[in-house]
């Protein structure tokens, strides 16, 4: 073995020496018997635990970042929707008076008294600024959900467009950060290995062996 090299490497020698070069047929028969028994008892339909999931890490990374992306999208859509909803609610005659501020849910806003003071619930949800916090009430600048000024209706609203585009931004850092994190910090399951206090995981090796194994649906 190792004919291509001047000499077999230590690893070659060890592997050749330690690996069993002949297998006991009785042992294989016993393993086959166990296989048949398990098949008959229907055990092969059991769910995959974390310890049984040995798919190449790229698949699992995709799953995690997909959830992170969706979560970020939902949050951003909420903010964006609030921003859009605020367009119609801010009239051109604003002065220092409070106006119905965008709140997390539209029903809250419509049920508010538009003339209410700064203490109304919908306005203290963090999205809005009290009159004292607001910038000078220039007509074109109102504090929006993110504290960014929003344009009046009828004018091009690049910021709303920006906010719509924002969902992509949070996803990227999480996508790039996730693969380098030890997987055990992302796994909700408790470790099943009795000897190990923490659950290790594979480091990022996207170039692992091509997946020929079955990928029958998501792990449980």
């Amino acid at each position: 073995m190792g004919e291509r090299h001047d000499a077999p490497t230590l690893e070659d020698l060890l592997a050749a020496a330690v690996r069993a070069d002949s297998l006991d047929p009785g042992a294989e028969d016993r393993a086959l018997a166990a296989f048949r028994t398990a098949r008959q008892s229907g055990a092969h339909g059991a769910r995959t635990r974390w310890r049984d999931d040995w798919r190449p890490r790229a698949h699992r990374r995709l799953g995690r970042s997909l959830r992170a992306t969706l979560a970020a999208l939902m949050v951003s859509a909420t903010l964006g929707g609030v921003a859009i909803a605020s367009i119609g609610s801010i009239g051109p005659s604003d002065d220092g008076r409070d106006v119905p501020r965008p709140s997390k849910s539209a029903p809250d806003r419509t049920s508010e008294d538009p003339a209410a003071g700064p203490g109304t619930p919908g306005q203290s949800d963090g999205f809005s600024a009290t009159p004292s916090d607001r910038p000078p009430p220039a007509r074109d600048h109102e504090a929006g959900p993110s504290g960014q000024p929003v344009k009046k209706p009828g004018s091009p609203d690049p910021r709303t467009g920006d906010r719509s585009a924002t969902p992509n931004q949070p996803a990227s850092p999480s996508q790039s950060a996730t693969p380098n994190q030890p997987p055990h910090s992302n796994q909700p399951a408790t470790p099943n290995q009795p000897t190990n206090p923490s659950e290790p995981g594979k480091a990022a090796t996207p170039s692992e062996n091509s997946g020929d194994g079955s990928t029958k649906g998501p792990k449980n």
């Binding site: 000499a7 060890l14 592997a15 330690v18 690996r19 069993a20 040995w54 062996n209 091509s210």
Partner: protein
Amino acid sequence: MTRGADLGTNSVRTRTVLGQAGEPRRGQAADGELGVAVARAQEDDEDAFSVAYRMVQPGLLGYLRGLVGDDAEDVASDAWLEIARDLGRFRGDGAGFRGWTATIARHRALDHLRRQKTRPRPTVLEQDVLGLPGVHDTHEQALESISTEYALELVSRLPRDQAEAVLLRVVVGLDGPAAARVLGKRPGAVRTAAYRGLKTLARQLGAEGVTDDGPRTLGESG
């Protein structure tokens, strides 16, 4: 930390199996075949299960020999009972199957050791080992083979973490991350352990009956 250091002009070379890629040198095509066999076995194909068994058992048995010595066959039988029973739960490719089965085998081995309360050693005694003709080494010739008993004896003398790291990487054929997962350790720790274990083995094998031709370049710092 220097990895895969060449051991100077000594006759034993340590290859960078622990190098950047972290992939085992051999068996990637075999792992593809193994993955196919496992998938078919999960569809109740008995012949495919036999194929998978024959591909995995040599490395598994070697690993267990290093852990439990002569009881390796018994522990392997226990492991295959569990592997066969839980086969439907497994998800992954051929390389993943090697890692999964190694984890199961390791658990059975640790259970076995706890029951025994001692660590059984390979039966070969030191004086017998030194007399074995299994090591061929001269000034000019490189080391060509090691006997199984001798290799196991040397490995069993390593610190446990180094022995396991070497066995999983070299005998079972796992890559760095997979070996770390089996052992429940950080990949860096496993990499260091395997490197140190191989270095020790290389030194022991290279030192057998040969005078050094020159200084070794063991500039390890980690």
